[in-house]
Amino acid sequence: MLPSLRGLTHFWRANLAVALGAAVASTVLTGALLAGDSVRGSLTDLTLERLGGIDAALVAEGFFREELADPSPPTPLPPPPADRERGAPSRSKGRLSSAVPPSPGGGEGVGEGGQGGEGSLAPAIVARASAVHGSSAQRASRIAVYGVDERFTRLHGRGDLSLEQAAGAIFPPAVVNESLAGELGAKVGDDLLLSLELPGEIPRETLLGDKEAEDVLVTGRFTIAQVIPDRGLGGFGLAPHQARPRNAFVPLAALQEILEEEGRVNALLTAGEAPDLRTTVRLEDLGLRIVRGPAHVSLESEGFFLKPAAVETAEALAKGLGAAPRRVLTYLATSMRAGGRFLPYSMVAGLSAGGFAPPDGQVLLNGWAAEDLGTRPGEAIEMRYLAMAPGGGLREERTVLRLAGVVGMTGLGADRSLTPTFPGIEDAEDIAAWDPPFPVDLSSIRPKDEEYWDEHGAAPKAFVSLATAQRLWSTRFGDLTALRFEGPHPPAPLSHRPPPDRERGEIAAHDLDRIEETLRRELPARIDLAPFGLAFHPVKEQGLAAAQGSTDFAGLFLAFSFFLIVSAVLLVGLLFSLAVERRAGELGMLLAVGYAVRAVRRRLLAEGIVLAGAGALLGLGGALGYAWLLMAGLRTWWLPAVGTSDLYLHVEPSSLAIGWIVSVIAVLIAVAWTVRRLARVPAPSLLAGSTVAPGASKIGRLARPLALGGTVAAVAFVLYMILAGEASSPALAFGAGASLLVSGLAAVSLWLRRPRPSRRLTLLAMAARNGAASPGRSLLSVALVAAACFVLVTVAANRRGEEETETGAGGFPLFAESAVPLAVDPNHPEGRLALGLPEDGILGGVSIVPLRLVPGDDASCLNLYRPERPRLLGVSPELAARELPFRRALDNAANPWTLLDKDFGPGVIPAIADESSATWILKLDLEEDLTMADEAGEPVRLRLVALLDHSLFQSELLISEKNLLRHFPSRAGRSFFLIDAPPERAAGVSQALEEGLSRYGFDVSSTAARLAAYQAVEATYLQTFSALGGFGLLLGTLGLGIALLRGVIERRGELAALRAFGFRRRRLAWMVTAENGVLLLLGIALGTAAGLLAVAPRLAESGGAIPWTPLLSTLLAVLVLGFVSSLAAVWSALAAPLLPVLKEER
């Protein structure tokens, strides 16, 4: 058997060139895959370092007992207290009361069942805060504060925290990471002031919610005991983002004390499988309490309003017991008026069907109130009350109800237990001592009101139907204040007799004990914990999934390197073709001695396979270097695009294998094309040394229709753009440009192949004629250069200038985020007063649009992780009134904002996203859905109805405020702000707001800076694309040079003959250089012209302002390189002595 592959070594120079070409293709292709591996691997590393041993986390809106993290064996519930009427307040400030006092030693039972192994759960307080350096007053906003103890460090396992208070230290210690220390300019021993939001059980956006700064915020002073690195424990965070967080770790107990939440936490962290908290959770962990009276049991909420989940579960339990609770909604009327008489501050109870529930629109008064107002049944009573204004703050509203009757001052008629605990009211000795979180006009209080308070406390004076009460006072946080199970009591109406209590399932006294016990034990075990935030999230699993990346960097770099890969592959085809063409006689001989064409083809392919395989293998080494270089680039030059310098080379063997296989296939396609072409050449031609098949090639045959069709298509595109008013359509323009490119290349092909009539034979004509000697080779060279120029021009044109960033922010020069949501409107005088902001001065005339924000994952290109739960922003009418650049909208809506109110059916929320985020990060298009869980853990589908164009809102999805409040009802306050200020005052406004609202962690940024940051990512990617496209162009030029060199070598005899005829070397050099120059200029001119047509709308939009300098520099470099390679080729050919070359010729 003959060694059929011996030609590989014999023609090693030519074959080495082919293998090196394959190596370049493999390097770039596999390197791109490794870049993807590296980003994913680095993000995975970051996730694992960030979370350490923590697998799952629970972060609740409210606080719960720290004992939920206690793995001690379960103990029985303590017996109900002896005095069950209004248990003594259990909270330090007495703001909330509980019917269940803490058991001695803090060893409260944990219910039935156990949870996890020892040390597998760590309690923590997770909060956002702002930090101020104790002496320099340097600020840092939106930092993360973690109240932790040794259970946390043990669980995390990637570092230690020095959280022991040093002897003699005045303030508790804090450990900060390098990022925070750097921002504050702080070092160990410095003091640090942390401002946090005080937890409030009652939603701030209700009548009873705290709104004043001193009630909302608390500041603690700490001494920095340790500065830890940003990686590992110092980079701890539950949300996946590659940016280094600014973290402060403080002792759990110290933070509990500052927040007045001793023994309570808002987070549990766990290693391994998350425990089922339903076995250990208690009513108080859910913010629920049971109030037991002599003849009733009530289920109430610490948050004033009962969550629907609590109501549903409690009613289901009651149904099992055969009991029907009364639904209660009690509210405060600021006044009632009848016939000119006035009754201030009265509780009004809305009760479900049964006694004390008049028809809708009517009211019952108790005897005291009826007498005070001097009214009679049938008369109108005007009731006034406070309600939340849409922008925050309170406003007084009124309603008129018809008096249905008067009830006696016994039983429910004077039952203070119908009124849940009102902070600042409940425990007051008298009305004058009220300190509620809303304004009270104490001057309207009369002595008789104080007497009523002394005798009946907060007992309602009026009763309406539940429907009426809910119509007037229901909130998104709930529409009931109690579920009440009642025993027998004497009904005593004066003029209105309620129906017998039996009708609503009156309960025997002894059954109340059973109901209380059932609610206490069964309700926590049966209730859905998700609406209470008591659900674990598999943060590590989610983080690792998100580490797969929002951007497929493998795909990205493959796309960026596409032209480079194509160039390398075409170069391989060219080199292989050159190598094989030298062996035309060999191929002809093989055919002549009886080798079948297929056998010859197989022989060449076998060589190609070996070369491709070896080259691609060699390229794997290059790929490692290339990927390393890309990572180094991402860490340094392209840092704005990735925002982290923690990206390192990671190698997946599968990527090496895939890269090798795909490279080999790509190279083989080029080789096969060459082989197929050669196989069509008849043996006699091959024997004569020719590799040109007789007759027109396929490309030659296609050239004419392609040239014609391309021209027609380009003209059609342009005409359509003009006539249909689509002059700014990028897609149509690109179509026109691409058509022109195809048409131009086909025309070049025709020009190269056309028979040239004999004209005057000038040197330039000879050069042009020579260029057409190998039309396929020349066309390939022109196509490579033209395509590269096309890409470079289109990419350069898409780089945006700074002036284009203004429209994306709707005209707002500033935007801000606060760590603590503002419950009041900073535009209103009252709101500014509450926030301590001046109305005039630097803030005079400054308008602020506050928006509700549901925190979540950054959906912009600034986040490398894949966002699972993107941030949501509620669109207010003020924002919708602004003009923002929309790219596309459903049904081409004229005002896409209106689409946010469109009804797509249950569970579907219309949403608007920025096109960049939707396309590249969320991978969504119009009408496509992103499914995520709402606050109650229910899946909701966010359907894209419009796409913004390069807007400020790339990090979040925009939904209507109504939908935001419906699905995330506990998101109280606004924490995202758009600020309209005169540009010349923007810096001053920014400083004034940051200083004035520093305790809220108010962080103001320039919208232009944010847009520039987004743009920097795009610009970086485009630069990368340009750079790699430029490399591709250089490779194409190199191919052109190689083809030229080969041609010159083939024509050494011809050139020698010309010299013998008297041609001087310089003239010959000019002729050969001109040959190359003609092809080069053709390629550049064609690619540039087609590229400019493709980006014509973009050019028109930017007034022709594209980065011409780098573009022209690249094109010039290509031109220079092309000419230099020509000269080198000519020099090598003409440097040879004349006679030996002439003698070589037969």
């Binding site: 058997m1 014999h10 001695v593 009886g594 080798y595 079948a596 064409v597 056998a599 006699p684 024997l687």
Partner: protein, 229 residues
């Protein structure tokens, strides 16, 4: 028995709008052991006629029969096999493969259809042929190490390795000096007579042509035949 039959063969090529007529009605028959020299001025169609006989190209019209077979009726793979087994070629350029040794070059045709001849048998035959052409001492040499005459002798051995019935030579001595040309010509006749092949030689050399009993002179595509006196 007629081995090679050429009947009214025409050949023209497309070149621009007007076809170029190369051969016009060439006919002749050759029996086993017969030899024919084809002569004529440059461009008269000598090589084209040889390529047609060698089935490397197809006639525009007319027929060529070899061993009473119409080779052009065969599908391409069968035609290749037919050519491999029936026809031997010697070109003006030896077209030896530089990467192979002399022995391997002679063996190249046997690898077109491996298994047809046992490799040991093929090697023995190649060695024998090289011995007959006087190159038994050069078996392991590369073509680059041979003189022009030696390379052409290797090409002759290669042409005979599959014992073809028809041996076609295109200017086999055209690139050789007189002594080498004489030696190669002698070798061709010797082998032709020994193996009784049909020998067709295209040549410009009047000396070489004069040694052939039959000659075909191509003038303007037409063959005027002459026999040795």
């Amino acid at each position: 028995m007629t081995r090679l039959s050429v009947r009214d063969v025409h050949k023209s090529f497309a070149a621009g709008s007007e076809p170029v007529v190369v051969l016009q009605g060439v006919s002749f028959d050759l029996a086993a052991g017969e030899a024919l020299a084809i002569t004529g001025p440059s461009g008269s169609g000598k090589s084209t006629l040889l390529h047609l006989i060698g089935t490397l190209d197809r006639p525009t019209s007319g027929s060529i029969g070899i061993d009473e077979t119409d080779p052009f009726a065969l599908p391409e793979p069968e035609l290749a096999r037919f050519r491999n087994q029936t026809i031997g070629f010697v070109f003006q350029d030896s077209h030896l493969l530089p990467q192979y040794t002399v022995l391997e070059n002679v063996l190249v045709p046997t690898q077109a259809f491996p298994g047809k001849i046992e490799s040991k048998e093929a090697e023995a035959r190649a060695a024998e042929l090289l011995d007959r052409v006087g190159l038994s001492h050069r078996l392991r040499h590369r073509p680059a190490e041979l003189s022009g005459g030696e390379r052409q002798r290797v090409a002759v051995a290669r042409a005979l390795i599959n014992r073809p019935g028809v041996l076609l030579c295109d200017e086999p001595t055209g690139s050789l000096d007189r002594a080498a040309a004489t030696a190669v010509a002698a070798l061709l006749f010797e082998l032709h007579e020994a193996s009784r092949t049909v020998l067709v030689v295209v040549t410009h050399s009047l000396d070489l042509a004069a040694r052939f009993p039959r000659r075909c002179e191509l003038v303007e595509g037409r063959c005027s035949q002459a026999s040795a006196a």
